[in-house]
């Protein structure tokens, strides 16, 4: 007495599994077989087949009757191949009967079907030592890239000083507008808030010593020498460094950078120099703007503590000298070089694909901020040693 099991669910094709005995079985497939309806039927037939193959030994013979199939698509053919492969693997035989002639050529396309079942390859695991070594090598490569890039950039910057007519001033203006004028609102907002917060926090502490009148000079000095350039540089890193990296990164992905190289043009001269020049122009100007807004915010805040504008102004003049302002602006210029150059470098190091552009933009912001802190540290050391 054969055991008959039907596999179906609403609208799906029906597969009737007839286990004649331990060595012979038959499947009758009926209905319309397509990729949406096949899921359950496929799984159930394969489960029954596996159970049948496992429960007995010997020569398994499966007859697959497809004479009542209404229609079949590519997924249906894959299903037939899946059942056949399971038979072959267990050493059994598979007989497909009654399949409409028009599906035969499609089935033949996949001969031999063993190609469709590759042996899974396990990726060799890397040992700790190897992965540490590779990470170190990446670090060294990165440093090399940075040094080479710095050299090329310095060379091309000097070249553009000697040949100012050949600099791409159009690109320079575009980059300066994007990085500079378009950044004014955010720089203004952030530096205003920083000015308020800085003097407010200082005032709370100073009030205990009755020294509220010293907050103005202190805040002004801090803003001009440190906070102004730093805030502006970090904003520029977030806005423009990322933008440069994404822009040049997309050009790299689209082989536009390759097109420049194969046309005998230096991508650094062509793409990086205008952007770095824009950074050099924009950073001190933005910093001055940030300084003014911050100091104004500080003045307004101190008004709330009963310090009139004129007192604040006189206190500031006694504390902040011209050399403090210049020191801040020189630092800002250096930040401008670093931020725009790092953005361009990360853009040029972009790999392939859309994800690589995102990675480059992220790396540009992170590296820019790290470099800003490093430059700031070196500058503080020089300032301390020279008294400038």
């Amino acid at each position: 007495m054969p055991i008959i099991t039907e596999s179906s669910s609403g609208g799906s094709p029906v597969a009737k599994w007839i286990a004649v005995d331990s060595e012979n079985a038959k499947v009758i497939l009926t209905g319309k077989v397509n990729v949406y309806s096949l899921g359950n039927t496929w799984t159930q037939v394969r489960e029954q087949q596996d159970a049948w193959l496992k429960n007995s030994s010997g020569n398994h013979s499966l007859i697959f009757d497809a004479s009542q199939v209404g229609s079949l698509d590519g997924a249906g053919i894959a299903f037939l191949i899946g059942v056949e492969e399971a038979q072959q693997k267990s050493g059994g035989t598979f007989n497909l009967v009654g399949l409409d002639a028009r599906y035969q050529p499609l089935l033949k396309e996949f001969d031999p079907i063993t190609n469709l079942f590759p042996v899974p390859v396990e990726k060799p695991k890397r040992s700790f030592i190897v992965s540490t070594g590779m990470a170190t090598q990446n670090l060294i490569e990165d440093a090399k890239g940075l040094i080479t890039f710095t050299g090329h950039l310095a060379d091309d910057l000097f070249w553009s000083l000697r040949n100012p007519k050949q600099v791409r001033w159009g690109d320079f203006v575009d980059a300066a507008v994007q990085a500079g004028i378009a950044a004014l609102p955010i720089v203004g907002l952030v530096s205003f808030l920083i000015g308020v917060i800085l003097s407010f926090q200082a005032a709370i502490g100073m009030k205990q010593f009755g020294a509220v009148s010293f907050v103005g000079p202190l805040a002004a000095l801090g803003i001009v020498r440190e906070m102004g350039p730093l805030i502006t540089a970090i904003l520029l890193a977030g806005r423009s460094s990322a933008a440069f990296a994404a822009e040049i990164g997309t050009m790299t992905v689209n082989s536009e950078v390759d097109a420049l190289v194969s046309g005998g043009l230096s991508p650094i001269r062509f793409l990086v120099v205008p952007r770095v020049l824009a950074g050099i122009l924009v950073m001190p100007v933005l910093t001055m703007f940030a300084d003014i807004v911050s100091i104004f915010a500080s003045m307004v805040t101190m008004l709330a503590y009963g310090i009139p504008f004129i007192n604040f102004y006189n206190g500031m003049l006694s504390a902040v000298g011209l050399e403090d302002i210049f020191s801040g602006l020189i630092k800002a210029t250096l930040f401008g070089v670093v931020v725009s150059a790092v953005g361009c470098l990360r853009g040029m190091q972009t790999g392939t694909g859309a994800a690589a552009v995102g990675i480059s933009a992220t790396r540009a912001v992170v590296s820019s901020i790290v470099m800003i802190v490093m430059v700031d540290g070196i500058f503080a050391f020089i300032s301390y040693k020279t008294g400038f």
Partner: protein
């Protein structure tokens, strides 16, 4: 008069363009079920734009496109999604997902729309990759294979859900002659045996003669269809100089 259901695609008074620029005016044509339908025309005449209007990516400036009797230009929500899953699209540049390998590119839509298990989807995806000759490259990333291979992988992805209609934008451009011939024979097999309708934008004359059941030829100046029918018949009998020139590869300066 046929009922709309007899056609895979029916185009009624379709106007194609962007904003105020009109590329094609009042197009009317039908694509039969299981037909290999080729759209021809010189560069820049709006073939790709027409294709994007046919499968509903762009909203036409006017007129209607009926896919299997359903109007894709007015369909919304679930109805629109249902129409969208009834066809597959291969874009000119391949447009593979760069963060996934080829096998995952093909299985992505299966994961979203079917109840197949992972191993079933993988087998199905391998069948599709085998059809376009890319089986050994299943674990490659799109950026690691050549442009021609990316196109073939994109065809495999378009076929993932066994759609009834496949839109192919220049499938054989950039392929070597052997691969191109293989692809033609695969397209014919699928059309003949599974009844899949193909709408293909192509310039490859050899391929067009080999596979096309029907072509329409678009012209920039006329902003419409200037020839329609069997390509071989058009080549041999058309009196229109533009059509004659195209099918017989005559340089523009010699034609005048």
């Amino acid at each position: 008069m046929d009922t709309p259901n007899n056609y895979a695609i029916e185009v009624k008074d379709l106007t194609v363009g962007y904003g105020s620029t009109v590329l094609m005016k009042n197009l009317n044509f039908t694509v039969n079920n299981g037909e290999i339908f080729v759209i021809l025309g010189g560069s820049g005449c709006g073939k790709s734009s027409l294709l994007k209007n046919l499968f509903g990516l762009y909203q036409p400036l006017g007129g209607d496109v009926l896919i299997e009797g359903q109007n894709i230009t007015t369909a919304q929500g679930a109805e629109r999604q249902k129409i969208m899953t009834s066809f597959g699209v291969m874009y000119q540049q391949g447009a593979l997902f760069g963060s996934m390998n080829l096998l995952d590119n093909v299985t992505l839509f299966m994961q979203e729309y079917t109840e197949l298990t992972e191993s079933q989807m993988n087998l199905l995806a391998r069948c599709k990759l085998d059809l376009v000759g890319l089986l050994p490259y299943e674990s490659y990333m799109p950026s690691e294979i050549s442009g021609g291979m990316q196109k073939r992988a994109a065809i495999a992805r378009a076929m993932a859900l066994d759609p009834k209609i496949l839109f192919l934008d220049e499938p054989s451009a950039g392929l070597d002659p052997i691969t191109s011939a293989d692809l033609d024979s695969t397209i014919q097999d699928l059309s003949k045996n599974l009844g899949i309708t193909f709408v293909i934008v192509s310039h490859e004359l050899a391929s067009i003669y080999a596979i096309a059941d029907k072509v329409i030829m678009l012209d920039k100046g006329a902003k419409g269809i200037i020839a329609e029918g069997d390509p071989k018949v058009l080549r041999d009998t058309s009196k229109d100089p533009r059509v004659h020139q195209f099918f017989n590869r005559i340089m523009s300066k010699d034609a005048a």
